[in-house]
């Protein structure tokens, strides 16, 4: 007997220390025990993880099929009692209640009589219960009991080893999962790629059929990013749904469940929240865990724990990636902004190279359309036409590759490579005329997208210039919109980007001022040219007048003697006999004189053309214009000018002639005051019976005109040293008379003279044709091609 026991224990130790799998070792141990004790049946019931029930794991009769997995709750039946008390217990079928309590064992051994239960435990842990069942009534000897307990110790040791190994395996598996996840998360900062890896790795480590992730901006409720992998049978729950599902006490928030699809197949899902520090919320969701045989399984708490751990890691990685993405886009924007500002600075510099309006517009258009400028497909300048209250196409350009090789600054100043013909483009300045007119009227830019939707704005572009999207900015000069800049990318169909538009908006203010300045400059230049021309013409008239007076003086001097010579020749001819040779001589004298007289008549008495050009003019303006011409003379004589001008209606007159009158009066005044003085100019309306007149009084402080010559001052050939050529006043009087006005003289001896010119406002016809303006016409005649 002792030998058997020794052999049993030796075998047990051999099994215990063998390298076969735990399951085999445990099976062998149960077999050895049954054989050694010659028991009918040895059964091992293992305590489940929840420690609530004991389940049949091993049997000395071989593998336990599923339907034989008998189970006892803790404390029930012999199995349950032994587990609860950790004490060895025996039961006989005959004992009351035994059969009822152990009914389940009848399935395994229908004819048992004796049941013996031994706890399988070590010092601190109960692993299960060993049941020995026998057909006969049986009593265990002390040695047998000891042997069973020894065997159970070894069984417990093996079980503990198995548990530890399982634990270790799980830890290793978890670590490798986390390693995988870590590797995936740290491999990239590109957000979309990262999300893809997150869902792929998640699905793999949980052995799920699919995984999905979404992140939502709670402020806008919009899905900011999302990604998915594999087969997604259900929608990913939103963060709000996650929050709504209150977790059980002690559990982290999650959503877990199952749904049956149309074909009756059950799908499972598990979702955990992604909690970000900032403004974002999200969910990570897995679907349908794979069983090794391909079935779908529900997710267990371990899966949940793992998903949580992953969620924590993912959140950090995603936040990093989002930040990186933001920083990257900011940097990109900065770079674009710097580039655009550089372009702007270069355009500004180029604009400083000219004051010509047309060149400026060309530079602006180059800047807008050059590839390395703001790079729009097309740009057009339209300017406001105040008179017609409309926008007028001035110049347009489109993108060209031709200036590619040139540095930007040089390309800006190059002639436009491809102009767009916009001269016929006219837009009335009314609010219903679309974005271009509105940009001027409201002094603000318009960005028109998909014009068909905003019909009020779209009418701006005629079919010829149509574009699906365009931007228009007003050209501002001080607080006035003088025109617009329009750009679009219609040719290539690219959308208009925000930064160049922003730059264009800034630029349009500067461009407006530059163009306005150029415009003013050219106006001043034109005015200056006109002034020079007028001055030239005035001087020319003066010269002509002098020349003409000289010529006519000489001609007249010749005419008198001719009359005498011719007259007496006629008298002689009458006295001389027809046959006398003297008669012939006298006739020669007579004929020659007649010829000379005819010549003189042609020179002196020719009738000039009608040289007057009537229009409505502002007398005050004519005064100012004329003053400009004599300003230099006035300045050089140190003559102060005092003006008292009344607001008056326009005068119907020949402005050029009236200017001539004023010019002559100013000249006289300044000659009278060559030692300095004050020139006072006063205008005022005069009401008379026959209508309204306007008067201009020009006073000097030149001492006045001596009384003895006063009556002669309008005589064309009268002149004093102090008061000019004489012809000046005569001409003035002639012109004023022709305008049905008067020239009056107010002479204050010792002080000065005031000439008062009074002119009717109303429209009078020209003075009767014929005699007037003949001789003096030459002095007033405009240079040929004067364009009047």
């Amino acid at each position: 007997m002792a030998t058997e026991r020794t052999a049993f224990l030796t075998q047990m130790v051999e099994v215990f220390t063998s390298t076969v799998s735990f399951g085999e070792r445990l099976n062998n141990m149960v077999h050895l025990l049954a054989r050694y004790l010659k028991a009918d049946l040895a059964l091992y019931f293992g305590l489940d993880k929840a420690k609530e029930a004991l389940v049949l794991n091993l049997s000395s009769q071989g593998p336990v099929p599923p339907h034989m997995r008998v189970e006892f709750p803790l404390g029930q039946g012999l199995v349950g009692e032994v587990a609860a008390t950790r004490k060895v217990k025996f039961a006989q079928r005959s004992q009351p209640g035994v059969l009822a309590a152990n009914q389940a064992l009848e399935k395994l051994h229908p004819a048992f009589t004796t049941l013996a239960g031994f706890p399988v435990a070590d010092d601190n842990f109960l692993y299960g219960v060993m049941i020995l069942a026998d057909r006969q009534e049986r009593h265990f000897t002390h040695t047998e009991r000891q042997s069973v307990q020894l065997a159970n110790l070894m069984l417990a040791g093996t079980l503990r080893q198995a548990l530890l190994q399982e634990e270790a395996k799980k830890r290793i598996a978890e670590l490798s999962v986390l390693f995988e996840v870590g590797k995936a998360l740290s491999s990239t900062v590109e957000l979309n790629e990262l999300l893809e890896r997150v869902v792929t790795t998640t699905a793999k480590v949980i052995t799920a059929r699919g995984a999905a992730l979404q992140i939502i901006d709670p402020a806008t409720k919009e899905v900011k990013v999302s990604s998915q992998y594999g087969q997604i049978s259900l929608a990913c729950p939103s963060p709000e749904e996650m929050l709504a599902a209150a977790p059980a006490p002690g559990e982290l928030p999650h959503l877990q469940g199952q749904e049956t699809n149309a074909e009756g197949r059950i799908h499972y899902y598990l979702a955990v929240p992604l909690t970000f520090k900032g403004q974002l919320q999200g969910t990570l969701c897995v679907y349908d865990k794979f069983a090794p045989n391909g079935d779908y399984l529900p997710f267990d708490p371990e899966n949940r724990q793992l998903l949580y751990t992953m969620a924590g890691l993912i959140v950090n990685a995603i936040e990093n990636a989002l930040t990186f993405k933001q920083v990257e886009s900011l940097a990109e924007r900065n770079e674009r902004m710097v580039r655009n500002l550089t372009v702007l600075q270069l355009i500004s510099r180029a604009l400083l190279t000219t004051v010509q309006e047309e060149r400026l517009l060309e530079i602006i258009l180059q800047g807008l359309t050059l590839e390395r400028g703001l790079g729009f497909d097309r740009a057009v300048v339209l300017m406001v036409d105040e008179a017609n209250q409309e926008l007028k196409g001035i110049k347009g350009a489109q993108r060209s590759e031709r200036l590619k090789g040139l540095p930007l600054f040089e390309a800006l100043q190059a002639p436009l490579a491809e102009e767009v013909k916009v001269e016929e483009w006219r837009i009335p300045l009314r609010a219903d005329q679309g974005a271009l007119a509105l940009a001027v009227l409201q002094k603000r830019p318009y960005h028109v997208k998909e014009p068909s939707r905003e019909s009020a704005l779209s009418t701006a572009l005629p079919p010829k210039f149509a574009a699906p999207e365009f931007f228009v900015a007003p050209l501002m000069a001080k607080d006035r919109a003088t025109g617009v800049l329009m750009v679009d990318n219609g040719a290539s169909g690219r959308p208009l980007e925000e930064e160049p538009l922003h730059v264009l908006e800034m630029f349009s203010t500067q461009a407006g001022l530059v163009v306005e300045n150029a415009h003013l400059y050219s106006t001043i230049e034109a005015n200056n040219r006109e002034l020079l021309l007028i001055r030239e013409r005035m001087l020319e008239s003066d010269r002509l007048a002098a020349l003409s007076s000289l010529a006519s003086g000489m001609a007249h001097e010749i005419r008198n003697p001719l009359v005498s010579i011719g007259g007496f020749a006629r008298r002689i001819a009458k006295l001389v006999d027809v046959t006398s040779p003297l008669r012939g001589y006298v006739e020669v004298i007579q004929e020659e004189v007649t010829r000379l007289e005819k010549l003189l008549r042609e020179i002196l008495d020719f009738t000039g053309e009608n040289l007057t050009f009537y229009g409505d003019h502002d007398l005050n303006k004519l005064l100012d214009d004329t003053l400009l011409l004599v300003q230099r003379d006035l300045d050089s004589c140190k003559i102060k000018v005092v003006k008292e001008l009344a607001m008056m209606p326009r005068l119907h007159c020949d402005d050029r002639q009236i200017k001539q009158v004023l010019y002559n009066l100013f000249q006289n005044a300044s000659q009278a005051m060559h030692q300095g003085g004050t020139l006072t100019i006063r205008t005022y309306p005069v009401e008379r019976e026959d209508g309204l007149y306007e008067a201009v009084a020009i006073s000097d402080t030149g001492g006045g005109i001596p009384l003895e010559v006063l009556h002669n001052i309008f005589n064309p050939f009268f002149s004093t040293k102090d008061y000019g050529t004489g012809l000046g006043l005569a001409i003035a009087q002639r012109i004023v008379s022709r305008h049905y006005g008067q020239v009056e003289v107010n002479n204050e001896l010792g002080k000065g003279v005031t000439f008062i010119v009074t002119l009717p406002v109303a429209k009078y016809c020209l003075v009767k044709e014929g005699g007037h303006g003949a001789a003096l016409a030459s002095t007033l005649k405009a240079p040929k091609g004067g364009g009047r």
Binding site: S552, H556, R559, N560, P561, L562, V563, S564, I565, G566, G567, F568, A569, R570, R571, Q590, V593, T594, E597, R601, L604, D605, H711, N715, F717, R734, S737, G771, H772, G773, A774, A775, L776
Partner: protein
């Protein structure tokens, strides 16, 4: 016999006019400027005056003005080398404006017109 005053600063003209007019049967008085002409106008009851315009001391225009002031009905002919004074309003007071010519037919027929009766 009708009395005609000829005022001209050119002696040769005075001579020519007086010869021609005398031949026509008029009594001719002569003056060398406006002032002299006015003196004669004041003394002698004239039928017609012929005035040159450009004369020293007093020109024909002033003389014309004064003669017309005193004797508005006395015909005054302006005979001048200056065609352009025709447009001068001051000359419009004269009864006839004649540009001097060696052919005195125009002058003589004008005189005849005014002294018809």
């Amino acid at each position: 016999m009708k009395k005609i005053l000829v005022a001209d600063d050119e002696m040769s003209i005075r001579l020519l006019y007086s010869e021609e007019l005398k031949e026509e049967g008029y009594e001719v008085y002569l003056a060398a400027n406006g002032r002299e002409a006015l003196e004669i106008v004041g003394k002698i009851p004239l039928d017609l005056v012929i005035l040159d315009i450009k004369m020293p001391e007093m020109d024909g225009i002033e003389a014309l003005r004064q003669i017309k002031e005193r004797q508005p009905d006395l015909p005054v002919l302006l005979s001048t080398a200056y065609g352009e004074y025709r447009q001068d309003f001051a000359t419009w007071a004269s009864d006839e404006y004649l540009v001097k010519s060696s052919d005195l037919d125009d002058l003589k027929s004008a005189v005849k017109r005014y002294l018809k009766d």
